[in-house]
């Protein structure tokens, strides 16, 4: 705690220093309109006048060679941008140092607050806000990263399962809001008392469009914490994404219309037509560039360094080209990201994949941070036109129409949904309609020809502040309230805790099993098309998809090894428990019990959530849990194929480890308790055991059958060597498990096998076992009954190899008893 506050203080101090520096530099950047007025805090101005015009080099004729020069105007723009970004980033560090704030107050609130403070200080020194938020800057540089971020991390499957609802809410909902709010405000404008009769219908509609862009970042993080159902989550997420697209389209349309002196009925129809052209045109460009990007990454295996670049360049290109034809560029970049993601992530290397994700997250996060930050600054520094009537009614209508819209639209869409939205969901949907960055940026980039731009800016900022602060802060307690979460956890028995979690997992599993996509026909069609044509064209290494491996192709063996190593570490502790048949009843004290509850609640796997992990705005997805489960389950899958078989076969099977030749150094690396597994306490660690087996047995098996084949041919001359090679390989894997780089160790220890081939072997391994159960149980039956047989079962493994390689039949491979 102490440390925390100290850290915070340090960060603040640093932030403050930086802030002063920023202010001073910005002061200089103000084109000299305001003579620098040194006030209290800002006296550390450098005594150089920067406003001598663009002067790249010192004047050599008049002065001697200057020892020290400063040329601020030359670096002004990038310098200021860097400082702003840094300042915003420091603010973010600050929030996360003190976690409790971000739990209760959304991050956007905090950013705005910081912005307000900065704005206040800037205002007090008569500083102009930075000119970063020009229309072009926003649309060309700030918006694309934000949208790319959302689109790239969109959980594809849940999204497509709910695409109808998402589009329904995004398109129709936004139209509903824009037109509803616009019309109502127009009606308000007719009231003379407010003095806003000069705002015509088009301008009202334009303004309404701006404030109907929903930005649910804050809500999503709340949803995640209180674990609302995923349908709601994905709908809110998708809505925000496509809602941006629709809003920008409408914005451009109304912007155009607002400048027209007279609007004829034809224009309305043209507008509608244009709406569709713009939308579908954007989608078309997106798909085009998405496939091109995927196709390009087929060939980038030799240029890993620039691989991630293609993703960004193609996305941006899609955006720019769409902008060129003035069709929906957001639509283009969204569809581009959605299209290419699946193929690209399979084509590029693991590292590039990580890089892409990181950079996408980073750019998106920083762009959004900046916008919120500027929102705070601008709120203070611009001149406002405050009109009570207009602004209050805007707030009211924004709230009412959103609520009405959700109610009505849900009633219409519910009959078509597999899982209808209930009332709680609707409340979440309606109340989650926070306005955010997009609205602000849109209103700020309004052309000056709009007469009441000031009023619009003020009203929009009011709406944003109102929704972000009031709704954003209150939504968590409200949702928790209507969810009525169980809080008295410790009153439950451990039984209840465990069994309930089991039930939750079961239900999640059954739900997944039933699926909720009711259009299986189209999905199957697409999958077929995808497998037969698209994958062949777009994916470099087009292997047949195996069942589970397909999900996490990118799951690298190295990662797996690390996790498995932990498991075996646990196992090594297990034998110490030994066998206590007549276990005395232990007394469990209250602290013990509490401790157990703690352990359980912290360590039990969470119920899978397909959407949440990917869509947190401020964090990269964390796949470790599913990875871990996947690896553990994958390893045990062969066993699970035989129903009810484990209890009969488990004891003998424990002997199926490779027993190493006596005296080998590797022997010592095995957990000391390993031999003790021969006794019947084996079941203790049953769940963990197969993973170890997979590491030791399966890789070796696959290597003996596939990847190592050429190797063996090389070594047939020296029998002993060949055994050593296999040994070495096992050793290698163990070393890799200990965290050394796998490729390094394999290349240094085993120069005959190039690393890629090794990688392939691991992939093969996965496929191999997948193949095993694809071939039905015949193969299983051939392979598995052996441990059941009374004969010493460890011979099973060598025997299998022996079929292919007589060298392995050497007595050395007979295990010690």
């Amino acid at each position: 705690m102490d440390l925390c506050t100290m850290d915070l203080r340090i960060t603040r101090q640093r932030g403050f220093l930086l802030f002063i520096f920023t202010c001073s530099s910005l002061l200089h950047g103000s084109r000299g309109e305001i003579p620098s007025k040194p006030t209290g805090g800002v006296t550390i101005l450098p005594p150089i006048k920067p406003d001598n015009g663009p002067q790249a080099f010192p004047d050599a004729e008049k002065e001697n060679m200057p020892v020290f020069t400063m040329n601020y105007s030359r670096i002004q723009i990038p310098f200021e941008i860097t400082l702003w970004v840094l300042l915003a980033s420091f603010a973010k560090i600050g929030f996360h140092v003190y976690k409790k704030i971000t739990v209760w107050v959304p991050e956007s609130c905090l950013l705005i607050t910081i912005g307000l403070i900065v704005g206040g200080i800037m205002h007090s020194v008569h500083e102009e806000p930075p000119a970063v938020l020009r229309s072009n800057v926003f649309f060309l540089y700030m918006l694309p990263p934000i949208v790319l971020d959302s689109a790239y991390f969109m959980p594809t499957r849940p999204f497509f399962e709910n695409i109808g609802t998402v589009l329904w809410f995004a398109v129709v909902g936004t139209l509903w809001n824009s037109i509803g709010i616009g019309m109502s405000l127009y009606a308000i404008c007719q009231i003379e008392a407010f003095g806003v009769q000069d705002i015509n219908l088009q301008e009202n509609l334009l303004f309404a469009t701006i404030i109907s862009a929903v930005d649910p970042v804050a809500v999503l993080s709340v949803f995640e914490d209180v674990s609302v159902n995923e349908q709601l989550y994905i709908v809110v997420f998708g809505e925000c994404l496509f809602n941006d697209a629709v809003t920008v389209v409408l914005y451009n349309m109304f912007n155009f219309v607002a400048e027209m002196p007279v609007v004829e009925p034809v224009d309305v129809f043209l507008g509608v037509a244009r709406f569709f052209v713009v939308g579908f045109g954007g989608m078309g460009f997106g798909i085009l560039f998405g496939f091109t990007a995927a196709f390009t990454t087929r060939f980038t295996s030799r240029v890993r360094e620039i691989e991630p670049l293609f993703i960004f360049m193609y996305s941006y290109l899609a955006y720019l080209v769409a902008e060129l034809f003035s069709i929906s560029s957001i639509m283009a970049i969204v569809t581009c990201a959605l299209t290419m993601k699946y193929y690209v992530e399979e084509n590029v290397s693991q590292r590039s994949c990580t890089t892409i994700r990181h950079v996408v997250k980073m750019l998106g996060s920083i762009a959004e941070t900046l916008i919120f930050f500027f929102l705070g600054v601008v709120t203070i520094t611009t001149d406002h036109e405050w009109n009570w009537g207009y602004i209050l009614f805007t707030l009211l209508f924004a709230f009412v129409w959103r609520g009405l819209g959700v109610l009505v639209l849900t009633q219409i869409i519910n009959p078509f949904r597999t899982i209808p939205f209930n009332f709680k969901d609707q409340f979440g949907l309606a109340y989650g309609g926070l306005r955010g960055a997009i609205s602000f940026a849109l209103v700020f980039t309004l052309p000056d020809s709009i007469g009441r731009k000031q009023l619009f800016v003020t009203a929009t900022i009011a709406v944003i502040l109102f929704t972000v602060f009031l709704q954003g802060i209150s939504i968590r307690p409200l949702i928790e309230f209507i969810n009525v979460r169980r809080t008295n956890r410790n009153l439950d028995t451990i039984n209840v805790e465990i069994h309930c979690r089991i039930m939750d997992h079961t239900i999640a599993g059954i739900e997944d099993l039933c699926g909720q996509w009711s259009h299986f026909y189209w999905k199957d069609k697409f999958m077929k098309f995808n497998n037969q044509i698209l994958r062949k064209i777009l994916i470099r290494d087009n292997r047949a998809e195996s069942s589970i491996v397909a999900l996490y192709k990118k799951l690298e063996l190295q990662n797996a090894m690390e996790i498995l190593d932990d498991v075996s570490g646990d196992i090594s502790a297990a034998p110490s428990k030994g066998k206590e048949n007549a276990k005395p009843k232990r007394k469990f004290l209250a602290p013990d019990l509490k401790n157990m509850h703690d352990i359980l609640s912290k360590n039990m796997y969470k119920i899978r959530q397909r959407t949440v992990a990917y869509t947190t705005k401020h964090a990269l997805p964390n796949e470790s849990q599913s990875k871990e489960i996947l690896i553990r389950r994958h390893a045990s899958i062969r066993r699970s194929l035989r129903p009810g078989s484990f209890q009969s076969s488990v004891v003998p099977k424990s002997h199926k480890y490779f027993s190493l030749p006596a005296g080998k150094s590797l022997d010592s690396k095995f957990p000391p308790g390993m031999t003790s597994y021969a006794d019947d306490e084996e079941t203790m660690s049953e769940a963990a055991y197969p993973s170890r087996r997979s590491r030791l047995v399966q890789p070796a098996r696959s290597s003996s059958s596939r990847a190592m084949m050429p190797l063996r041919r090389l070594d047939t001359l020296t029998e002993v060597h060949s055994v050593d090679v296999v040994d070495e390989k096992v050793g290698d894997r163990r070393r890799a498990a200990r965290g050394t780089s796998r490729t390094n160790s394999s290349s240094s220890r085993d120069p005959r096998i190039p690393a890629p081939q090794r990688h392939h072997s691991s992939a093969d391994n996965g496929r191999g076992s997948a193949d095993n159960f694809r071939n039905g149980h015949h193969e299983e039956e051939e392979e598995e009954p052996q441990p059941l047989s009374p004969a010493p079962s460890w011979t099973a493994e060598p025997r299998e190899d022996a079929a292919q390689n007589p060298l392995l039949r050497r007595p050395q491979w007979k295990p010690k008893k």
Binding site: T493, I494, S518, I548, L551, I563, A688
Partner: protein
């Protein structure tokens, strides 16, 4: 599912109710005409399945189309591998157990009827059902729901959750960071808590008793299986 299980009567009754109606015809290969396949068969089955108040007609249609889409072998039955292919199930820590629940002992294929019979456990209990005293206990009764959960532990079908069985499940459920010592004492504690007759295992009756305060009806029901 037959041996000494409390829901045995229901199951056999149920099976008779459906099994008498003849075999379900092989579905047409989806590549040629999936939509007729997915509409015609469920209608034929409708009277069977709704008779036992399994699910509504539209749900059968939907689940049938799910069934055919899972059925990669296109032979009208699902194998374990078909289940394994569901990606979300792959990352479910209990995935194997859940899949196993679909397969009667010794079989490795499940047809649509068997599929539906398992899913019927998860149908929410409706209000009017609670009052009416059915001749046989429906599959989605509280007891049967609990039995399903119980069976997830009880692999050897001796109607007891032994310490080892509990440990296996616990090991699947927790991350790799817990030592076996901790897990072992948790298992001990769990059994001790539930065990009333002192046989160091949890019988089904003890299981029911332990969970009597839990809203199993709600917890073990799927929202869309109306």
């Amino acid at each position: 599912l037959a041996k000494s299980c409390p829901g045995q009567e229901t199951v056999t009754l149920y099976l008779r109710g459906v099994a008498l109606r003849g075999r379900r015809p092989r579905p047409a290969p989806p590549s040629t005409s999936p939509p007729p396949a997915s509409t015609s068969h469920p209608i034929k089955q409708e009277d069977n399945l709704t008779e036992t108040r399994l699910v509504s007609h539209s749900q059968i249609t939907r689940l049938y189309s799910r069934f055919t889409s899972l059925d990669k072998g296109e032979n009208g039955t699902l194998s374990r591998e078909d289940f394994q292919r569901i990606p979300e199930l792959a990352i479910n820590p209990l995935g194997d157990r859940i899949i196993n629940a679909f397969f009667p002992e010794g079989e490795d294929q499940v047809n649509f009827r068997g599929f539906m019979r398992i899913l019927a456990h998860f149908r929410p209990i409706e209000d009017n059902e609670k009052k009416s005293v059915a001749v046989s206990e429906p599959l989605n009764s509280r007891t049967n729901k609990l039995l399903f959960a119980f069976r997830l532990y009880d692999l050897d079908r001796d109607d007891k959750i032994s310490r080892e069985e509990l440990l296996q499940v616990l090991r699947m459920m927790v991350g790799v960071n817990i030592s076996d010592d901790q897990l072992g004492s948790i298992a001990d504690r769990t059994i001790q808590e539930a065990d009333t007759n002192g046989d160091n295992s949890i019988s089904f009756n003890e299981f029911i008793k332990v969970l009597e305060k839990v809203d199993v009806e709600q917890k073990m029901s799927i929202r869309f299986l109306h």
